[in-house]
Structure formats: C-alpha cells, structure tokens
Amino acid sequence: MSNAAKEKDKEKESFPAYEKVMAARDSKKLTAVDYISKMFGDSFIELHGDRRFSDDKAVVGGIAMLYDTPVTIIGIEKGRNTKERVERNFGQAHPEGYRKALRLMKQAEKFHRPVLCLVDTSGAYPGIGAEERGQGQAIAENLMEMMTLKTPVLTIVIGEGGSGGALALAVADEVWMLENSVYSVISPEGCASILWKDSSKAPQAAEALRMTAQDLFDLRVIERIIRQPRADDQAMFESLKLLVSRTFEKNLALDTAELTEQRYARFRRIGAIG
C-alpha cells in the first residue's frame, strides 16, 4: 500500500490491520486439528507428553503421512468449542507444551523426518505454574535447538502468532502465514496499554506494529502468504499439501550442514547492519 493510501485509511478511521487481528482470533475459523485432519486424513497418529511433567493439551503433536513421506506435525490448538477451548487452555501453552514440541522435533531429527509446525496462539501462558516450571527457559531451549535441528522444519501461522510463544515453534527453514493471520511481538491491546495507557487504542497499535501477513512479507520475515482456505475447500488443502511436500523435498535434498547453515542465515540477516 502506498503512503498516500495509508493516509486515506487513517482519515476514514479504518484499521485494516486490526481487522486482520479480529479475523485471526475468530473462534469459528479452522484450528490446528482441522488442518491436520484436512491435510493428512486418518494417517495422523497423535503422540503425547513431554516425558518430564505432563501432557500439555495446548500443543498437539504426532506423525502423519505426507503422500509417501512420514512427517512430524506439531500444532498449537485453541479448541473448536467452549469445552475444547478450556481443555486446550485457549491455545496458551505451558513450558511442558514447548518441551513436548521439542521432544517430538528431536525424535523427528533422529529419523530424519521433516517437521511441520502450525502456530495459533495469543502467546505462552502467563501463570504461576508456567513461571515456576521455566516458561522462559523452555522457549529459549526451543529457539536454540531448532536452529540446528538436522531435519527440515516448516512453520505455518494459521491464526495468531503471539510473540515468544509462537516463535518457539517458528525457528524454521521457511515461515508461511495464512492471509488472515497475524504475527507480532506483543498483542495490540498490550502494546496500546503499555505505550499509551489505553487498550482501546489497540487498532492504532495493530497498524504501528506491522503484524499482518503482508507486513511480514514486506519486512522479509516470512516467505509466503497462503490464501485462507474455507472448510469445504478440499482442493485448497490439497494444493497446500503439495506446496508443503515440495518444500520438504527441496530441503531434504540438502546436506544437513547446508540446511542448518541456511536456517541460521535466514534469521541472521533480520536486523543485520551493513
């Protein structure tokens, strides 16, 4: 969008970025388990637990067949109705969720199986238990370990990409976003209340934060914007599957040293100077 067009938007008090935020949070939109079933059918076998503390239901993980190739899938799941949402803690993972994800990634590395991460979270859970069990440490460990994971990793943001809690599943070879998804360092409400002491200025904050798929693409933080699929649009899921498969094929062909070198370079250039 040109600057002139942006100015015009401001005059009309329309906030397209915040509309995207609302769309990304829409409780009727598809969640991670929907994408898994639509893309992988009944080939998905769910695997539970972090082997350390518990099984965090905000994170769903397992193995499925992508055509003839087994892949590890890890998604943050918000739940599709009230009961599920409570069970899934509204898609806000505890440290054990991130540790489960890392366990499954390490397992995938062992068998040289590509990893697909589906991100949909307002953020890592901010609570007493989460802090006591090292939320910061769990996220930090994922960032470190994913950077050198010796197998292809692809992340798709399918709704909200909430800060460190999303990044903990997004240190990948490529990151894609659905057209109605957002990815940000902080929620627009949080940003507006901290900076302007007024959470009702969230729409302005959403614009300033540059958090839409288009913004992130323009900032060269993501590789692709994916058209938002409707639930009944099976052809769209098939083409998404094909796209995922081609990306994995390309990265599986690389020597693992080359693969992790490229992953490092992908993040290394963000904010690099000179």
Binding site: P126, G127, A130, G134, G136, E141, E145, L209, R210
Partner: protein
C-alpha cells in the same frame, strides 16, 4: 566503624525518620535512599560497597560503566560496534522521541566488547537499564549476535550481564526475531565447545529471559533479582490474585532449578574468574 558510621541508620525505624536535611554538613546529593529498607546511605559508602546497601544488602542497579569496572580487569575493556545505534525502522509513532532521550545515555541497550577477567581474555556484553529499560531492539540483537560470532571465531568464552524489560515493541516483529537470531549465535558458540556464563541482574524479563539469558552453560544471578518470562503485573492480571512475596526472585528460580547460583556482588568477579579458569582458559601475559 568508619568515619561516617554516625550517620548510618541502625534500623528501619530510624531510617525512615532520618531525612538528609536533618543531618548537617552532608549535602543532599551525597545521599541515596535504599528502596528496600529505606535507609539513607552515603554515596561514598555505596561506591566502596559496590552499590550494595550497607544496611540490608540490597543490590542497587549498576550502570554499564560500573558493571564493566566490577567485572573486567582495570582498563582492559575494549568496546566493539560502539557506533551501532537504534533506528526507528518501522516508523513507529513516538519512538523517535524516546530514542532521542535514550541516546543521551548510550547508543543502544547493550554494550559489547572484549576484556580480561582475572587475566583471562573474555567477550563481555553488558545490558543497559538506562536505555529504554534494556529492551531488545534489532541493534541489541545484532550486537549480541556479533559478540557471540566473534567469540566463536576467536575461541573465547562469553559473559553476558542481562537486565531487560523484554523485547522492544516499537521494533515489532523485527525485535521478536532477535530472540531467534541471538539464540542461534549462542548455539553455534556452544557447539564450538566454548563457555557461556550468564549473569542475571534486576530485572531480567520477557524476550531476553526466553532467549540468551536462559541459555548460559552456567547461569548466575545477583540476590533478589526479578527473573521472569511474564512479569508479575501480567500474571496478577491473568490470575486475579496477589503473588507470593518471593515469587520470581533469583532465590525462587534457584529453588525451582532454573539457575546455578545466586552470587552476591562482592563475589561475582572472583566466581566468574574461577569458572573461566576451570574451563581451561588461560591467563594472558
């Protein structure tokens, strides 16, 4: 007892009534009030005591310069990338003014360089609470990444002193990405078999906690340091309840198993120097 002993408050009750104007001969600017026990402390005493309250042991926040003086051998620190400075890359409203103010103090929220600690060549990064509360912007991430890359190439250990309110929201997603970038650089340094010691100082929170602060081979913290991912105010809002008093202090995270030791400021340099030595790094000269 030293010469100034007569003005040192003996207990909290005395401290609260002991206002500087009641004490003759000592100008006001020579006093500082301890935020923990309210004792009035002489700045000269404070400097001698490494900015630790002589009354209750509270560790005052150190400036970058003071932190470097505390850890590095005298005159051994050589700064790297000093000219790198934050920019308003997203054209975020109000950020220019904030940066202008912050830049009166420093160019960015971290100072990185090379020094000797107990005679051992070490890369040292010190975060700066006076620069936008040590928030991590893209240049912060870039400087820390460069410091780790330099250390990896040169085969040097790294010591990072953290103090941070978290990621810098005015730099949006680019700030968040610095968590991944710095973590990658730490991982490469680690894979090269080199030692990384983290020193957590008050407060260490948010995106810094969830990246390089928690990635040290050895994680030390000063006493009574806030160590958190989500800060206490955020949690109180979610939980709608008051948090226990010691929650998220360095003593608390030590007990929970997330740091190696709480080390008081007077023992910090010697502890780091001993650890460096134990990892086979030799003294130069």
């Amino acid at each position: 007892m030293d010469f100034f002993a007569f003005v040192k408050p003996k207990n909290e009750l005395e401290a609260s009534s002991n206002k500087p104007e009641n004490v003759p001969f000592v100008p006001e600017e020579m006093w500082v009030k301890c935020p923990k026990c309210n004792a009035m402390l002489l700045t000269t005493d404070m400097e001698e005591n490494l900015h630790v309250c002589t009354h209750c042991g509270h560790h005052f926040r150190l400036s970058v310069r003071q932190r470097i003086e505390l850890l590095a051998d005298r005159d051994s620190f050589r700064e790297h990338d000093a000219e790198l400075t934050a920019k308003n890359i997203l054209d975020f409203p109000g950020y220019d003014a904030k940066l202008e103010k912050a830049k009166r103090n420093a160019n960015e929220s971290v100072c990185c360089g090379e020094c000797r600690i107990g005679g051992i060549k070490t890369v040292l990064c010190v975060m700066n609470a006076e620069f936008m509360m040590g928030s991590m912007g893209t240049v912060t991430g870039e400087k820390i990444t460069r410091a780790f890359e330099y250390a990896t190439d040169a085969g040097l250990p790294v010591v990072v002193c953290t103090v941070s309110g978290g990621a810098r929201m005015q730099e949006g997603i680019l700030s968040l990405m610095q968590m991944a970038k710095t973590s990658g650089a730490v991982k490469r340094h680690s894979d090269a078999g080199l030692l990384y010691i983290t020193i957590l100082t008050d407060p260490t929170t948010g995106g810094v906690t969830a990246s390089f602060a928690m990635e040290g081979d050895i994680i030390l913290a000063e006493p009574d340091t806030l160590v958190a991912f989500a800060g206490p105010r955020v949690i109180e809002q979610t939980m709608r309840q008051k948090l226990p008093r010691d929650f998220q202090t360095s003593e608390f995270v030590l007990q929970k198993g997330f740091i190696d030791a709480v080390v008081s400021r007077d023992k910090l340099k010697s502890t780091v120097a001993r650890l460096l030595k134990m990892h086979g790094y030799a003294e130069v000269e």
